[in-house]
Symmetry: C2
Subunit: 148 residues, 2 copies
């Protein structure tokens, strides 16, 4: 018996429903190499996915939607995420000197700060739109009150 926990395997339609997209989109992302294609699957057989893949896809679609990224931009971002994950694993290894650990943290900080800047700008833009709508709403209420 393997030590790894048996992972629930899902089919493409279930995954699509879970993350709010379509099977075609998932296949397309695999086709252009945005998502990894399972090495073992032979043509014609069903694709199977695990919980972690679902989570990564959900996260990718969230970033794409919220930041309005093209698939090429999304690809770059995901590559950055992967590099970050690799550094994270290196950080926690026992044989890594403190000097290297500091370097890893500095790179992580740089990465997160870049993302934060993008996201903050977006949030500010959406918040500005919200403020305008709230102001409109108040003007309507005021006019209503003034109709004696």
């Amino acid at each position: 018996m393997s030590a790894t926990v048996a992972e629930a395997t899902l089919r493409i339609g279930e995954v699509a429903k879970l993350v709010g997209t379509t099977p075609r989109t998932i296949r397309y992302y695999e086709e252009i190499g945005l998502l990894p294609a399972a090495e073992t699957r032979e043509s014609g057989r069903h694709r199977v996915y695990g919980e972690d893949e679902v989570e990564r896809l959900r996260e990718a679609l969230r970033l794409k939607s919220l930041l309005g990224l093209s698939l090429e931009e999304l690809r770059e971002l995901l590559e950055g995420e992967e590099a970050r994950q690799a550094r994270r694993e290196e950080f926690w290894r026992d044989d890594v000197p403190v000097r290297r650990k500091r370097e890893i943290l500095a790179q992580g900080r740089e990465y997160v700060d870049r993302q934060l800047e993008l996201v903050r700008r977006r949030r500010e833009e959406v918040a500005a739109l919200e403020r305008e709508l709230v102001a409109q709403r108040k003007r309507i209420d005021k006019l209503d009150a003034e109709l004696s």
Copy 2:
């Protein structure tokens, strides 16, 4: 001499630059009827735009970008905006009874509230992403401090 203030007329390239898009996009929007085509222009002649058209286009692109709308959804939203503008003008006419004015305000409130709900949801999503990044940033700082 006309009483209307002479409006600066702009060409499509200037308009595109002002609103952060391309001439092709503006032409395409006109082609599918999302933007009105000037009646008077004959084929082959330059398109000219006024400040108000620039402002409307800027607003439309902002909504499309921030809310992630398709052009069909944007079209519906712009139609709503136009209806709202018509009601606003009716509201300020002298011959409109108070009863009708209240009705207009109620419709405006309904419209603004629908928009607000959309925008608030988006803002919350972006803010949630921002919080996650801030938390990551803090974890990095903490790890750095713990490296004695």
